[in-house]
Subunit: 344 residues, 4 copies
């Protein structure tokens, strides 16, 4: 049993972390902080937790947090990097769900997040928290950068092809569709129901923060620079990411060979499900579950289409954070995050 | 550990029963039947279950079913009453999620379901499976009629006032809003997305099958005939029922007294949550959870408005069925159905 | 051809007014004002208008506005009453889509809108702009208070029964379901897609601003005080109001008599459609149209249920404002607002 | 004034054609046929038309139809090719909204529509009805094949680049997102609200009927074979198609040059709106309107992303059919189809 806290728990990743941690057998939630909601009961803000949670939002207290086994950051970008160093010094381990420690290149971070990185030493030791790719490093790390939601879906979808050096590295395309919860629990006109309901719209087509994050990891996998065209779209749905990935094979392969590569890559992974070749996973098939479902297509010889779906708040955020926690603390990796998707 | 089967598992109550039973520690699912899908893997029909369920739909086999501890019927109306007698004789206990054993009056059944009741003796011993009202009878029964989704929300909302004989019995109104999954997993034009999306429509205003069911139970509670105006509406949402209930007090009561009556009635109930007086429960606060949330209002003296929400597939169907199973078999009542609602 | 302007055109009623006025053959839009968007092209804010509208938002200029034939206020509450007097003095006529001139009793206004009324003299001459009930007064008025969206649906649904003194005046109930656009184009957390999507929730059950407005008009029709229980609900849809109205007959009437009363009341009304007895109008059947569809039910003798649906932005706001303009200026009442609903 | 009829008017393209034709000043609707709904009032099936349409569905009568000026086919595939020859012989002109006359190669038709083409001679004279590309041929044709919804969005998005021979013809990708109405008004389980709500899913990724249609036209434009990867997705929305198109430039061009090519191509087109470079059109900005909005991006030198949105039932079906009618009969091309989009 470990003691953990959540810093900045008033957003959707916060409530989702609570949903998962409250029934996790090896975690005691020692606190949840919010500067804006201090003193408020958590279940007053999130009525879904009534009867399951007596916590009250408190001001962050560095001494208290530093004494815990694990601190989750579910804060806006820029907060975790201010607090991380002290907490690590005090002995806590960290899982940061914000973007502060995802981009290893400080200049890239500064460019895309409009602020300089203020904790370069901590950044240097942060591990990218995609367990399917970096499990060993995560196990031994003190600070894990939980991946973005889009990057999770895209990276799991493309990794096996790049690892095996089967595809062209300059023509990759990720056409991604996201539910609105990915934009956070924030009162913007552009997010209200009449603006996003019954409509589809792309955004950030000329450039989006998740592109350098994805390219960084893809390049590491390929041991060579990888370029990706990344196109996010906002969908009239609450949860879910559907990544439609386009790649071109270097050399001819038949469908069975392709399928075998993915089954080998993910056959032992509890949270990646490779569908039969030619399948079409729906985002609802992973709603509420810590799972990425992937299906492969080769419509014309050499033209590969990979469909990869996750729940952006689970495998794309809170569920993956708990998975990282399990890895870091030596718990069974599936502990507390084996829920079946809620369908319909 | 008991052995249970699901007869007719291709609808939404079927997949929801599976979601709950697959992680229930005291149940082994001995089989799931479907005449139309015999031989098909269950997770081929419901991809959300991939990795959790190796079952295959089979033809119903009366001998096999009769030897089990419990059989759930998730069939269309009319099927359970044909099979129930034999299964009971063979020693199985039954939870019927269809309407076959809900209406004790055969003529009322025949009128509203357009078919005669063919198992009057079994009907006579069937118990109405709303544990909060009939827990003792359920515990000892061989056959439980799982309530309809609307009746569950309405009955839990009105019962305390009728039990205490506080309201007029001829002016009750239940204005109910339901998600589309309540209409079943069936290919009707009237249910396709472009027909129900971005629109609201009442149906069955002049008469609906759930009215006699609700009135039967309310009358039993009140020990006197109760008349209800029941108005269902179809909403552009997947899950959830919101019952807005109107009643008139016999005698003046202040809000605190009213609230106390509900808190006393449901204070020990694990699956009924009474909000602070004047609250507004959202259906999403119970999405995926076996829970009814209730809030009370008295906008003008004597005019009571009760808001009661459930997930129609959980507390309104599969979750309640598992709750009944727990009661029947002496398991802790919350076993396997304590999931937190998925929000957002 | 008249010259008209819109004050405060950045909300949903603003863009809807533009949609209708831009193709109205007797109106020239002389300007549209917005303090926050001054200098911005209207079609930059509302891309649906690209190619139809070259207007630019300007600061409100009292001299210019006063010289126009008609000024529409699509402002937040409190703005119109500051400007109305001067514009009337300058010779303009006004249609106010805000609530400033709806409630004739200043104290009632002050109570529900949390501000004193600052233009009592103008208020005294304002006419309630529901043409089906007050056409003659509207024709001759200088200032018309465009009704709220809920009141429009409820009043058209109940008026014939009260006019004929057929129902009890103390047990009326209006259970109303609204699309989210009724809450305005405003960046509140409670309105973002993940908060209202796939969920239903009541609000303001203990008291809502539209209740006194409805009761004021109903009492005027009945020449006697009328009490209404009004319960609004927020639905996961963009446009539309569905009012489910409950009333009790004084004296027995059969369904044909009831139907005849409504057909007589609305037979000549171009914007009220009485469905065959026992119908179930869907809100989508009026999407984008200036129309109220009504259907009647008598589930038990004496218990009347009336279903009344409108598009909250058209017959509940902008369409009705244009209808009022047509009446005020002697144009054919249907001019420019005869569009067929967009279905699906 | 011409006389026109609709054959097969019970689907979504049928009701949308009626919405447009009923207010078209140069068309009298001489009849609407449906074998399944013969004798039923049209507004009983489509209540949105109440008050606007007294038509009754009739059996198709070849003699009557042949005497009309124009017959629209809104039938399932396979019907128009049986009737077209006789109607042409009798002197009627035809606009076919089904796929029967879109694919000039009979073998390709047979392969993708699972039936042989039975009217090869009529097929030979059919013109592809995309007025922006083939206006002259349409003007003089007796039979126009109205394009599919996806092809309309994709072709308008890609045509200018291919006409100018600026892009590689073997690496084109069209990632398309469609509302559910594109699947028709048909009672399939896969289309009901709980199946498509709050979820996204690709379909037909390995092959879809609209790919050969798009490639046929693109190849004609390019005067050379063009290959396209076409990936359709089903979205939880009613109307709308969003095509996200990926192309690679042969030679470097700056953004201004690119934009100029599109503005030149579509500057005079009333129904194609080119947004400022780098824009993000939402499908709702064309809801209910006969319009295609296009925006261009060049995220990296040489990598072009084109966003193209339409309402699948208007510019993607019924609106385009009326546009073709206008061209064929020499009416102003915008007559009757200049409606502003309904937003929100």
């Amino acid at each position: 049993m470990i003691q953990a806290a959540i810093v900045g728990g008033t957003g959707y990743t916060g409530v989702e972390l609570l949903r998962l941690l409250l029934s996790h057998p090896e975690v005691e939630i020692a606190g949840i902080t919010s500067r804006s909601e201090t003193g408020i009961r958590v279940d007053a803000l999130f009525p879904s937790l009534r009867g399951h949670c007596d916590l009250i939002f408190t001001e962050p207290d560095m001494d208290r947090l530093g004494n815990l086994d694990l601190v989750f950051f579910a804060t806006p970008h820029g907060v975790a990097m201010e607090m991380a160093g002290k907490l690590l010094d005090a002995g806590a381990r960290l899982v940061d769900l914000s973007a502060d420690f995802r981009l290893q290149d400080q200049e890239v971070f500064a460019k895309w997040y409009d602020q300089p990185h203020t904790a370069p030493e901590t950044l240097a030791e942060a591990v990218y928290g995609l367990p399917e790719l970096f499990r060993t490093e995560i196990r031994n790390s003190r600070i894990v950068a939980n991946p973005g939601c889009y990057p999770t879906a895209v990276l799991l979808g493309l990794a096996p092809l790049l690892q095996a050096d089967l595809i062209d590295r300059s023509t990759l395309i990720a056409d991604c569709k996201s539910g609105v919860s990915g934009a956070g629990r924030t009162g913007k006109v552009s997010l209200i129901f009449p603006e996003v309901g019954d409509s589809v719209q792309a955004y950030g087509v000329s450039g989006h923060r998740h592109r350098p994050e994805i390219e960084m990891v893809l390049s590491r996998i390929a041991s060579d620079p990888v370029e990706l065209q990344f196109t996010p779209h906002l969908m009239p749905m609450i949860r879910g990411i559907h990544a439609t990935l386009y790649a071109r094979l270097h050399v001819p392969m038949d469908n069975g060979e392709l399928q075998a590569i993915y089954q080998k890559a993910y056959g032992d992974e509890p949270f990646v499900d490779v569908l039969p070749f030619g399948g079409h996973p729906a985002t609802r098939s992973v709603r509420g579950a810590n799972l990425c479902r992937i299906a492969l297509h080769q419509p014309r010889p050499g033209q590969i289409v990979i469909l990869s779906v996750i729940d952006n708040l689970v495998k794309g955020a809170a569920g993956q954070a708990v998975q990282n926690m399990n890895v870091m603390h030596g718990f069974p990796e599936t502990l507390g995050i084996g829920q079946i998707a809620v369908l319909p």
